[in-house]
């Protein structure tokens, strides 16, 4: 399956990318994908990074072909 991953803020900075399209095999939850994407990145507090699948913040979701996944550091709006 193909998923698009979007990186924001300090995650984008650490990953040195804003977006990538990954070809994934097998059954994978959002939180598993998050761990995989953040692995090796210089981010002090990985717990504070949220993952959204098609704009939904539930990290228990199982990924499917065509999903848009976003890695979101702590919000700082307002």
């Amino acid at each position: 399956m193909t998923v698009t991953i979007k990186y924001f803020g300090l995650v984008a900075e650490a990953a040195e990318r804003f977006e990538e399209i990954l070809e994934l095999d097998g059954v994978l939850t959002a939180s598993e994908l998050k761990a995989q994407c953040l692995n090796g990145l210089a981010i002090a507090d990985k717990e504070s990074v949220q993952i959204a699948v098609n704009q939904n913040l539930d990290d228990k979701i199982t990924l499917k072909d065509g999903d848009e996944v976003a890695l979101l550091p702590p919000f700082a709006g307002g």
Binding site: A52, L72, F75, G77, G78
Partner: protein, 147 residues
């Protein structure tokens, strides 16, 4: 997700003070309004380990953010008897002293408008995927986190 087209919230750069005057003036024909409540966020020259913030560079997961803004609006209209509500948030660089957030609600009665503005501000801080890079005088930076 509601079918109504979400209203555009993001503006490029700082929000000019004139926008507030214009928004208020636009509501003078709505004679059922008795109270407006406005909240403005302004970039503060915070000091962090001897360095001073000179600007915040805002980015966002825009599609999601616009949808979340829209959901917050829907929730506010369901919860409070408000006549209108407007939100504007900056993207890009906003310098110290400039405005990055403008929340504006109107109601027949003061308490409703004040509570609704409060609700908007807290919801926006908590739920909207906006990210802020605090830029210091020496062009180093740190990432802002809402408390």
């Amino acid at each position: 997700m509601d079918k109504k087209k979400p209203k555009k919230v993001f503006v490029q750069g700082a929000i000019p003070p004139e926008k507030i005057a214009n928004s208020v003036a636009n509501h003078q024909s709505k004679t059922e309004i008795g109270a407006h409540s406005i909240f403005l966020g302004q970039i503060r020259a915070d000091e962090v380990e001897g360095k001073t913030v000179t600007a915040i560079d805002y980015t966002a997961y825009e599609e999601m953010a616009e949808n979340v803004f829209h959901e917050i609006r829907e929730a506010a209209f369901a919860k409070f008897d408000i006549t209108c509500a407007h939100i504007y948030h900056s993207l890009g660089r906003v310098n110290v002293g400039e405005l990055c957030l403008f929340v504006f609600t109107s109601s027949a009665h003061r308490k409703i408008a004040i509570e609704a503005t409060n609700f908007f501000v807290e919801e926006i801080k908590a739920k909207v995927p906006v990210f802020g890079k605090e830029i210091f005088e020496d062009e180093t930076h740190q990432w802002k986190v809402n408390k």
